[in-house]
Symmetry: C2
Subunit: 172 residues, 2 copies
């Protein structure tokens, strides 16, 4: 089965992201607005139990942290994807690193750019239009992330929570 | 905010349910296939923390249980809703009861009929057609439920997991 790890922002932030996503993101109905912490990976039923135990240990080593959304940004020209840029704080980068230890298969291929996607698979002209509008609107939002989730994907492409992990910091 | 409590069946079961839901359930994109344990209720941020603590206690009092889907059934003539009927085992009914103690506002108004909805808001003729087909196909499936979830609803009507609770039975 296919799994991933993500944090969900507050209802307020998700509602804002969805106001764009419902028009501009074909994945709108497949997953709620999220910040990916670990990209999709495959694991069988036995392995995922071990992985969940290991993730729980990670959650206990990290405390709740401030997520700071600083602006709307774009992955263009790589892809016409717009996202809410999340500040690379030491707390967040350290949590990400801990979810990419040797146990989890090591560091990802690309540098981690924490973000919440709000639009993707846009045409060039759509991308230019919407990016222009959103850049003007601006974005500056802070909130506490105190939990994250292990997700799995159904056959229809939708993502479902398998387990919630609270960031307790009790073993940091 | 609006909250609810539900258990999600296995990926296999969810994929089967979704094969019907994507055609016959307008809520298909709002929530993945689920068995409701506690209907939607409203709570503010302070109250929901208390509620989550209380639900965690409930989860510790109950062990993983066998969910037995016995057949396809219908809520007609009340509503043209088709569902997978889940057997009313003592374990499941006791968990449901514990989620409706005085703390949680007491027993529900109607008798609990555990089920996984697969089609709703059907016209009378659609209902007759699909129910006829599905009754012939039959359904007999058992699986273990070892966790359930507290969910909240976003402005667009979609449901998101707030927290997972494992049925440990450690304090039963």
């Amino acid at each position: 089965m296919k799994y991933g790890v993500a944090a969900f922002p507050s209802k307020e932030m998700q509602d804002i992201a969805n106001s764009y996503r419902k028009r501009y993101d074909p994945h709108y109905a497949k997953i709620t607005p999220h910040m990916t912490l670990k990209d999709a990976f495959r694991a069988d039923d036995a392995k995922i139990k071990e992985i969940a135990i290991e993730i729980e240990k990670v959650a206990k080593r990290h405390s709740p942290f401030m997520m700071h959304v600083t602006k709307v940004s774009s992955f263009a020209p790589v892809t016409n994807t717009l996202y809410l840029k999340v500040e690379q704080t030491p707390e967040l980068m350290s949590l990400h690193e801990d979810l990419h230890s040797d146990f989890f298969g090591g560091p990802p291929q690309f540098q981690y750019v924490p973000h919440i996607t709000i639009a993707q698979q846009l045409s060039d002209s759509e991308h230019a239009d919407i990016y222009g509008q959103l850049k003007m609107a601006g974005m500056d939002h802070k909130e506490t992330i105190d939990r994250f989730h292990l997700l799995y994907q159904l056959e229809d492409g939708s993502w479902q929570v398998y387990e919630t992990f609270r960031l307790t910091g009790e073993k940091s």
